[in-house]
């Protein structure tokens, strides 16, 4: 069991008492909560020390709307962005991100070239994936003392498992889960979601939850909502739930069925003030030792092999993009690898559907 909070406290105290030779400021997006804490320890503090810069964490909760400075005049924006794979692709398509120069990536300690060391599919046109994580469904153990929910279908089953559900106010993962609840095979989810009928089926499932949904905006909220008893089930990031259970003894269980595995991708904003420093930061943060350091604090999977070799056994879940997803096609403990291409091309239609659904139900 890993406890990093005291360490974090110590480092924060040290950090705040240090006076930096001011080499400028790098603005990086932050997701808050345990994830941001782990990033601070693994990446930010050391980078500040090594490069004599100040890192400013500016909150970011996904989507590509906030990146468009034309729509947000006077906005300081971000230099470096930590985005979901699909957001990163969409932002790249919209030319909101700079093209990523993969030559900045640092080789593995044994000399293996970075491009060989990263797993297939981890390096993108406008960025590089640095962790794999999963959207999962977790429940409050106190709410279900007898029969426990154990499948995605149970999430939608208000009769057997009454109580409120926390969901992100975004059309993501819930689409796939609705399909899984109909027993759609994992490999066919995106085919069926590409039809109007697919969306209708998702709406039908969501309608079953009507009046029982608590929407969340920021990644740390699901844990809070579960721990203070506001909801009985919540969707959220696996690392946060693991952290709550392992490090804070909060009675939360993750349903192993329906893990929705995605990548987090570093990218540099097209209008970044300090693009060179931003590239240096990404090279630093994706170094083998830094990547391993983060995965040793939080159950998010690394994206390069040399980092995976340096991780001790972790008590929680750790989704990896190298896992074989076709094995979990049917039955229990299904896992879905997010189809980021589908996400990037359906950006507007998903939101359109979601907004229509929200307004139709008055949510």
């Amino acid at each position: 069991m890993i406890r990093f909070s005291p360490l974090l406290m110590l480092s924060l105290i040290l950090g705040s008492s240090t006076t930096w030779a001011d080499n400028g400021e790098l603005i990086i997006s932050g997701w808050g909560g345990a994830y941001e804490q782990a990033q601070t320890i693994s990446y930010f503090q050391q980078f500040e020390e090594e490069h004599d810069v100040r890192i400013k964490i500016r909150p970011y909760n996904g989507g590509i709307g906030p990146l468009d400075f034309l729509e947000h005049p006077g906005d300081p924006g971000w230099d470096v962005l930590d985005m979901t794979e699909s957001d990163s692709l969409a932002a790249c398509n919209e030319r909101l991100l700079k093209e990523f120069d993969k030559s900045v990536l640092i080789s593995a300690p044994d000399g293996t070239a970075a491009t060989k060391d990263f797993f297939n599919g981890a390096i993108f046109k406008c960025g590089v994936a640095h962790v794999s994580y999963a959207d999962v469904i977790a429940y409050d153990e106190r709410a279900f003392p007898n029969v426990k929910p154990n499948s995605v279908a149970d999430f939608f089953d208000i009769e057997r498992f009454p109580g409120k559900r926390a969901l992100p106010r975004r059309p993501i993962a819930i689409l796939e889960w609705a399909m899984l609840s109909y027993n759609v095979p994992v490999s066919q989810i995106y085919d069926l979601l590409s039809t109007e009928r697919g969306f209708k089926l998702v709406s039908k499932r969501l309608n079953q939850l009507k009046g029982n949904i608590v929407w969340w905006e920021q990644g740390h909220e699901p844990v809070d909502l579960l721990s203070n008893g506001e909801v009985v089930m919540a969707s959220g990031f696996n690392g946060r739930f693991d952290d709550a259970r392992v490090n804070h003894d909060i009675p939360i269980s993750i349903i192993p069925d329906g893990q929705f595995v995605q990548l987090s991708v570093w990218g540099i904003h097209r209008q970044a003030q300090r693009p060179d420093l931003a590239a240096q930061f990404i090279a630093f943060a994706t170094r083998t030792d830094r990547m391993a350091a983060l995965s040793n604090l939080l159950s998010y999977g690394p994206t390069r092999k040399s980092a995976l070799d340096r991780i001790h056994h972790y008590a929680g879940t750790m989704p990896l993009i190298t896992d074989n997803y076709s094995n979990a096609e049917l039955g229990i403990n299904r896992r879905i690898r997010a189809d980021s291409h589908w996400y990037s091309v359906t950006e507007s239609i998903r939101h359109q559907w979601f907004d229509e659904w929200l307004s139709s139900t008055g949510e």
Binding site: Y182, N183, V184, P185, S187, Q188, Y190, D191, L192, S194, T195, E196, R197, G198, L201, K204, S326, E329, L330, G331, W342, V345, T346, S348, I349, Q352
Partner: protein, 581 residues
């Protein structure tokens, strides 16, 4: 007497086995790769031409472009298909499994290579443009094409053409359904029409290769995957049988609809080249309202196994629309198969049946899945006439014993009824209309297929009415015959003479006094089977064959010639079915 003497001992047994295995592997590899390329090609066209739902959903905010593509693509595609079929396929119709069956059964000459390629290309284009036709027929034909090319290698193995084509077909079906056992059985059940040791090995090898390519190397997605936990109530098997009967009615209606539409199309006055375009245009209009009718309909197939995916009303309308456009597309000359659409129509009908049970709530049932699958199999089996292969397809696709048993019940009842009402398959009915009637059995079908002119004699003594019978008897004895044909003026036959008619009469008797003014004459249009039957019912030992147009004598045929032909065919069939390797 001339008999085809098939040598079976050209090679030692191990050499033959090795050769057959190599043939199986070679055909398996080539057909698998081509079949996968075929899939990729029409899927790519589907994407480019905005037929694929993945592409269509991105355009919901551009309805004008979407509507234009929906109507324009099938129409323009239809025009191109019509053009290709009319100018590049010598038969002037798309080639398919019925051509394969005919080729294998008659050991005929394959369709010209260029025609086969053009027909296959037209099928890719039809499917790519969203025509409501199947892709299994063209795939079977692709297997045929490769098989007949390989059989041209002259490996001196008896019956090589049939074996090669069956292997090609087995590989194609194996790739199409990820179902090697079904592929092997389909080749025997539909193409070869018998089980023989010699064909078994290469078809099985080819089917296995197809499976390896589709499943292991290219990791192609299965047609559908279902979750089914078993039939919960025993009385449901009665319902599966009911679905079988309904499926048979559906299949017969579908098959007859296609035939009717084909004959309507040829009477309609629309030039052949433009018929597919007309069908495409109407298809596009229907698709504006029901986009699900476009193309293969993979997504609808999968939705059908999801309870509640369709409202019963919309499901009914969708079924009617899909049947309509499919019959239209196939009748009006789009290139493609009959099997794919009926799979979809069947599964939707099965889902409708399950949905109605759900609404009635009279008794419990095991969900929509078994009904959908039973509906699919019950409707599709009679169309292609392959009950065994269908049962195996369910088994290999679902790997679910309960579901296979349920489907088996439906398939059996469907097949029983439909074969009574319609025939063994749409292919067989099509072939029967082209003069090759397999419902008579393989031997009789072959006899009835060949024209009597194939065994006609063109060198024979010509007798005139004024000839003396002494001379006639002498001439007949000289050539070892007991009968001959008497020819009148204008070279038209006027009678036949038998030696038995001449005995006991003076040799100077005029021929016209003893001859039988013949009542039996054949033409080019007479087939050997008809000739055999005519001889059987008369005393004549010889018959003239005349030109149907001019009535002039073309040649003659002896009863013994017809009987030899019959024996030759019967021997061939026996050898095919019973020869060891």
């Amino acid at each position: 007497m001339k008999r085809i003497n098939i040598k079976t001992d050209l090679y030692s047994v191990p050499t033959t086995i090795l050769l057959l295995a190599i043939v199986g592997v070679g055909i398996g590899v080539v057909v698998s790769l081509l079949a996968i390329a075929f899939y990729e090609a029409f899927n790519w066209l589907n994407k480019e031409f905005l037929i694929d739902p993945h592409e269509r959903i991105q355009l919901v905010n551009r309805p004008l472009l979407l509507s234009l593509a929906t109507v324009g693509v099938p129409a323009v595609g239809g025009l191109l298909v019509g053009f290709i079929i009319y100018y590049f396929v010598s038969a002037r119709r798309p080639l398919g499994p019925s051509d394969t069956i005919l080729l294998v059964q008659t050991r005929g000459t394959p369709q010209p290579f260029g025609s086969s390629i053009a027909s296959t290309f037209a099928a890719v284009l039809s499917l790519g443009c969203g025509a409501s036709v199947g892709h299994y027929g063209p795939l079977v034909y692709l297997g045929t094409l490769v098989g007949s090319l390989v059989s041209a290698l002259k490996l001196k193995i008896p019956n090589l053409q049939a074996i090669c084509i069956a292997s090609g077909v087995a590989a194609a079906i194996s790739v199409a359904f990820n179902a090697p056992i079904a592929g092997m059985v389909f080749a025997h059940e539909v193409i070869l029409r018998h089980f023989s040791v010699k064909a078994f090995a290469p078809t099985t090898v080819a089917a296995a290769i197809g499976f390896i390519f589709a499943n292991v190397i290219f990791d192609r997605p299965p047609l559908f995957l279902v979750v089914f936990e078993g039939v919960q109530y025993s009385y449901e098997f009665i319902l599966f049988a009911v679905i079988g009967i309904l499926g048979a009615l559906l299949a017969v209606g579908y098959a007859k609809g296609i035939l009717l539409c084909q004959s309507y199309a040829s009477r309609s006055g629309i030039p052949e080249v433009f018929r597919p375009m007309v069908a495409g245009l109407i298809l596009g209009m229907v698709a504006l309202q029901f986009p699900e009718v476009l193309g293969v309909g993979q997504e609808s197939l999968r939705f059908a196994t999801i309870g509640g995916a369709f409202e019963l009303g919309e499901l009914t309308i969708l079924i009617v629309a899909k049947i309509f456009v499919t019959i239209l597309c196939l009748g009006f000359g789009f290139a493609g198969g009959v099997f794919g659409p009926i799979l979809l129509i069947g599964i939707l009908c099965g889902a409708l049946f399950g949905g109605i049970l759900d609404q009635l709530q009279i008794f419990g049932h095991s969900g929509v899945v078994p009904y959908a699958i039973c509906g699919m199999m019950a409707a599709a089996t009679p169309v292609i006439g392959a009950p065994l292969a269908m049962i195996l397809i369910v088994f290999e696709l679902t790997r679910n014993y309960d579901l296979t048993t349920a489907a088996m019940v439906a398939v059996v009842f469907s097949n029983l009824l439909a074969s009574r009402m319609f025939g063994r398959s749409l292919f067989d009915v099509q072939l029967a209309s082209r003069g090759f009637d397999l419902s008579l059995g393989r031997v009789n079908a072959l006899i009835s297929y060949g024209s009597v002119t194939e065994i006609m004699r063109t060198e024979y003594p010509i007798f005139r009415t004024h000839d003396k019978i002494g001379k006639v008897a002498y001439q007949l004895a000289h050539i070892g015959r007991t009968a001959g044909v008497v020819v009148g003026p204008n070279e038209r036959p006027v009678g036949v003479v038998h030696v038995r008619d001449c005995t006991g009469r003076p040799p100077t008797t005029s021929l016209k006094d003893v001859m039988n003014p013949e009542t039996m004459r054949f033409s080019q249009n007479t087939n050997v089977g008809q000739a055999l039957e005519a001889f059987r019912q008369s005393d004549y030992e010889v018959a003239p064959i005349v030109s149907a147009k001019t009535q002039k004598l073309l040649g003659i045929v002896y009863e013994s010639d017809v009987i030899s032909k019959y024996r030759e065919i019967a021997d061939r069939i026996r050898q095919e079915e019973h020869d060891p390797i």
